[in-house]
């Protein structure tokens, strides 16, 4: 089936009791049993819930995987991945990952004697250098936030396989519409479904996808044993949103590309970061491993003062953390989302005080460009 057909139908059958075409919200914690141990496959909602299962099957199909295991947030999903490991294991992680990922690794899981190396995964040689006999997982985020640096997934999947360690990709930024890491040999994909999958800024959620039977059964075990499951209402909302994922992603990208091109030619913008621009240093890799370039554009305005004036003067773009919703957002990473990264480290990756990240929404392209233009003039 095609992506759009899957997004509307995969995992969803009309409700057998009423024929309702939309999967109902099974807002129940438990299920009545006919006799002791005789039931319809559902015992307790931490373990099984039909709305949740419909969502998991749906996104598994979109990622071209076999299994989906959903969680109450992206970070709960990421935590479940680390809970698959043993004390003493070592994880190599992209050095420019989402700050919350860095925080849970360094401040929570390190206490349980899991070691983390933060490495520039855009260079496969550096990943090889960081491998040790105890390396059990390679955790990659591509493109990174907010510098939009890419890692070569096919090359990294190969390195991980040769070493016998699991490869994981946080695919939140691209969504399965533009990037499907499982097809490139990656073992596990994780999402903050809070972002593009849900896309309407009204749910926090996470999900892991895989093709591997054994990994899936370990993850279902953790999902139930640890218990960070999403509620049925949230599952319903995400399931409703994936029906329009392709439509939204195409619009996000069209607008983002138009804005990136506009910014590239603007005298007040010092630098634009967008993988869809031929000037992006990894444009060739972007074309090879993604089928589009996504909705996030970053730009350097030269100073904190200019960035502040820009953020204060936009009218359609809202100043807020998060990304991936239908509405356009502007973020100042150095102060808002990446303040925990030491300044020296930030500057090394180009994350200056003048950097602005735009999560380009699906409003009218002309309105967004006019808004960005007037805010640049007012700087």
């Amino acid at each position: 089936m095609g992506f759009q057909t899957d997004s509307i139908h995969a995992g969803q059958k009309p409700d057998p009791t009423t024929g309702a075409i939309m999967t109902p919200i099974f807002q129940t914690s438990t299920y009545v049993q006919e006799s002791i141990g005789v039931h319809k496959g559902y015992e307790y909602s931490r373990t099984q819930n039909p709305t949740r299962q419909a969502l998991e099957a749906n996104i598994a199909a979109l990622e071209n995987g076999k299994y989906g295991v959903s969680f109450a947030s992206g970070l709960a999903a990421i935590s479940a991945l680390i809970q698959m490991l043993e004390s003493g294991d070592h994880v190599i992680c992209s050095d420019n990952v989402y700050g919350g990922t860095y925080r849970v690794f360094e401040t929570v899981f390190k206490k349980f004697n899991v070691a983390f190396s933060f490495v520039d995964t855009s260079d496969p040689e550096k990943v090889r250098t960081a491998l040790t006999p105890r390396t059990k997982m390679l955790f990659i985020e591509t493109p990174t936030n907010p510098m939009l640096i890419l890692s070569d997934l096919a090359a990294l999947a190969e390195i991980a396989r040769a070493h016998g360690c699991l490869s994981v990709v946080d695919n939140t930024f691209m969504s399965p519409y533009f990037q499907r890491p499982l097809e490139l040999g990656i073992d596990l994909v994780v999402h903050s479904s809070t972002k593009y999958l849900n896309g309407h800024s009204d749910v926090v959620g996470g999900i892991i996808l895989t093709r591997d039977d054994e990994l899936a059964s370990r993850l279902y075990y953790i999902q139930n044993a640890v218990g960070a499951v999403p509620g049925p209402q949230d599952c319903f909302l995400i399931l409703r949103a994936t029906k329009t994922l392709a439509l939204r992603m195409r619009e996000h990208e069209k607008n983002a590309l138009a804005i990136a091109r506009y910014l590239e030619g603007h005298p007040r913008v010092e630098k634009v970061y967008y993988p869809g621009l031929p000037a992006h240093p990894q444009h060739a890799l972007a074309k090879r491993q993604m089928s589009g370039f996504g909705g996030i554009v970053s730009m350097d305005l030269g100073s904190l003062e200019k960035a502040r004036r820009f953020a204060e003067n936009v009218r359609i773009f809202a100043l807020a953390e998060s990304l991936g919703g239908v509405e356009s957002l502007v973020d100042h990473p150095a102060i808002m989302t990446h303040a925990s990264v030491p300044r020296e480290e930030r500057l090394r990756m180009g994350l200056t005080d003048g950097l602005i990240r735009l999560s380009v929404g699906v409003e009218d392209e002309e309105d967004l460009i006019r808004d960005v233009g007037q805010a640049l003039e007012a700087m």
């Binding site: 983390f116 040689e125 105890r134």
Partner: protein
């Protein structure tokens, strides 16, 4: 499952690899990008993994060992000479190490060379913690490494 101690090793010549293999009772050393890995099955419940660092490149050391060093019980510096201010690669590496990491270091040096303690103009010596080796051999290492671990244990208890 066995307990595993990971011990990074900086040595001043290739010859040490043979002595570490002899000490571990293995002729196998698995090559990684930045080091060679030799397993010493110390007892039924404990393995020691030695990581013999290949390149004294500061960048590589940081990339390859930054997650290992903080968890290691100690780091071994193996040299024919104990640390001095002389510009030898092992001494330079030791200075780099001290400025970047805090895991304790033990030097393993043949006892016949231990007389060469350097006394500076200010009357200070810069003697690191060390265990003398009776000879350059796997047998001597086998004796010295538990002593090195004990030395660190006592030091930590004292602190």
């Amino acid at each position: 499952m066995n307990d595993i101690l990971e011990i990074p090793v900086f040595a001043d010549s290739q010859s040490w690899e043979a002595w570490f293999r002899e000490c571990s009772g293995t002729d196998q050393a698995q090559s990684y990008h930045a080091f060679k890995h030799i397993t010493w099955p110390v007892g039924p419940d404990l393995d020691i993994y030695f990581y013999l660092v290949d390149h004294f490149n500061e960048h590589t050391v940081k990339e390859a060992l930054s997650a290992i060093i903080p968890c290691a019980p100690c780091i071994l510096f193996c040299g024919n000479h104990l640390y001095s201010r002389e510009a030898r690669p092992l001494n330079n590496m030791y200075r780099f190490y001290l400025s970047h990491f805090r895991t304790p270091v033990v030097w393993l040096t043949p006892e016949e060379f231990l007389e060469e303690k350097e006394i500076h103009a200010d009357g200070q010596t810069e003697e690191p913690d060390y265990v003398p080796l009776t000879e350059l051999s796997g047998r001597a290492l086998k004796k010295a490494i538990p002593q090195a671990l004990e030395l660190i244990k006592q030091k930590i208890q004292k602190d």
